[in-house]
């Protein structure tokens, strides 16, 4: 275990955390303001990745692909909100879970019909494909560094929107006090649709950026969706700050756990057992973290309503 390995793993963790934040931010706002569990959030992430891959291979430009995916996914998200999800706000959580579970199945099949069951190729853009030397002797992939940069930029933008603009004021009012949100009347419908569009756009960014690292395939949305839920539950539902801190926590714990636990255990247990147990422990770690947080703080670290 060298210092550079540890630094690299922490950077990987921050990078995963920031991507999770992009998903969790939309999820937590929808959750906090509309009291809506939207499992289909992961489907939007998947759609974003597929759109990016398609447009990128058609135009040859990754950045054009990302732009198109953001617009396309936002539109699909808003259409979904206006057609189906809107009907579910007043229903109980069970109905929301099941209806959006149904949407996952539908979207997965549609994607499979259009793009096929095999993973789709999405490469990082040429400019960012190599490693960069951050300090002499420490090289880190440029694309991952780019992800961290974009993640921080989007996080700052989001904080600016929520804390400094009029729309953000509504959002905050809605997240901390639902009656207040309802009292805003007609505008609320538009606001909800816009928040959904924003959430979908963030999904698309995450899908486009993680596509080249993970893989673009049917079902990619579900595994990351559960992580995003863990994030917002740890952070406290409805809180953007909670989502950010929860995301970084989950990202670092998960990445570091996977990389370092087997190494740490090797000295104690021997190589085979360490790989085996270390792997199991590492994948369980974030759920353990969530259970612990909820045990001490049943409403997450930063509850939006107290």
């Amino acid at each position: 275990m060298t210092p550079t390995l540890i630094v690299a793993q922490i950077l990987n963790g921050v990078q995963l955390g920031l991507m999770l934040f992009l998903l969790a931010a939309g999820l937590t706002l929808i959750f906090g303001i509309m009291d809506m569990i939207n499992l289909a959030h992961g489907s939007l992430y998947m759609i974003g990745a597929y759109l990016t891959a398609t447009v990128t291979s058609a135009t040859g430009s990754f950045f054009l692909g990302v732009g198109a995916a953001i617009i396309g996914t936002a539109l699909i998200g808003m259409a979904l909100e206006m057609s189906v999800l809107r009907q579910l706000y007043k229903r109980d959580h069970l109905s929301q879970v099941l209806a959006t579970f149904g949407i996952i199945l539908i979207v997965n099949e549609i994607v499979r019909m259009i793009w096929g069951a095999q993973p789709v190729l999405l490469n990082a853009p040429e400019v960012l494909s190599g490693p960069v030397e951050i300090v002499p002797g420490f090289r880190y992939p440029a694309f991952r560094l780019f992800l961290i940069g974009v993640g921080i930029a989007v996080a700052l933008l989001l904080f600016f929107i929520v804390n400094r603009t009029r729309v953000g004021m509504w959002v905050r009012a809605g997240a901390s006090n639902r009656e207040m949100a309802q009292a805003m009347g007609v505008r609320i419908k538009l606001l909800f649709t816009l928040i959904f569009g924003l959430g979908a756009a963030l999904c698309a960014v995450a899908g486009a950026l993680l596509g080249p690292i993970l893989s673009v395939q049917v079902g990619m949305g579900e595994s990351i969706l559960i992580l995003a839920f863990v994030v917002i539950v740890i952070g406290g539902i409805g809180s953007i700050k909670g989502a950010l801190i929860g995301a970084l926590l989950v990202g670092i714990v998960d990445t570091a756990g996977r990389a370092l636990l087997p190494l740490i255990l090797r000295d104690l247990l021997g190589r085979d057992a360490a790989t085996n147990i270390g792997g199991a422990l590492a994948s369980v770690l974030i759920y353990l973290l969530m259970a612990l947080v909820l045990f001490w703080k049943p409403e997450g670290l930063f509850p939006a309503r107290s």
Partner: protein, 311 residues
Amino acid sequence: MTRAQMLILGVITLGLILVPVLAANNFTIKLFSRLLIFALAASSLNLVLGYGGMVSFGHAAYFGVGGYVVGILTVSGIASPFITWTLAVLLCALLAALIGAISLRTRGVYFIMITLAFAQMLFFVFVSLRQYGGADGLPIRPPDPLRDGRTLYYIILVTLGICLFLLWRIKESRFGRAVQAIKENESRMMALGYPVFRYQLVCFIIGGALAGLAGVLNANLNAFISPNALAWSQSGQFMMMVILGGVGRFWGGALGAVVFILLETWLGSLTIHWQLGVGAALLIIVLFAPGGLVGLVSSANAWLIKRRAAA
């Protein structure tokens, strides 16, 4: 139960008893075995979710663990069903006690998510247990009499019958009424002097144990167990079955399971994109028939009676 309901139940029971006699092939017997097993699993979730009001998104954990207990014991040379089944059910009850004791500190969405988290933990534990097949799963060789499809079918049928009778008595008992009233109005039950937490926990444990039993049967039927049995999509499927049949209606779980599996089998034979149909059916049920199928039947029934009375 009214006489008409007794009659229907009698006919269905008779039909189920005759299935292995009339079945043309083993495929049919296996299909019916699956129907009965999932009817048990969904009914156990209906106890927790429908009667107890606890939206557990990790019910497949017990289903899978029950199967794994049988599998692991069998490959370790302990095949006697009396030992493996008892241990499986006891372990699932213990697991539910542990998970419930922690999860029931939270409410609402947090409860949904923490139960999901525990199920995910167990899922990954079994994925990483390479000596027991890891992600590929573990083939099991059930003891002799259970390898015969017909014998197993009757064992499953009797088990389901006993469990449903048990659930029926629970529903009407003091305990059952207390649990249902807690779902209706928790704060009032506390103010009446009920230790709410203990009732919910016991309900959660019974549900977990019965799901474990269903998992045991499932592992025997397939002679196989894999982490998929406790995947989150399996938990979602159980919830689907319950809402499809009717949340908190006694026959909701069983009916939902039967309709769901038949729908899945039928759509699966038509197209590889059968999940599209399942998803659409689910969406339609949630949006347009919140009471599930049992709800639809009873409102249709009420409508008929009203019409007859008017005529």
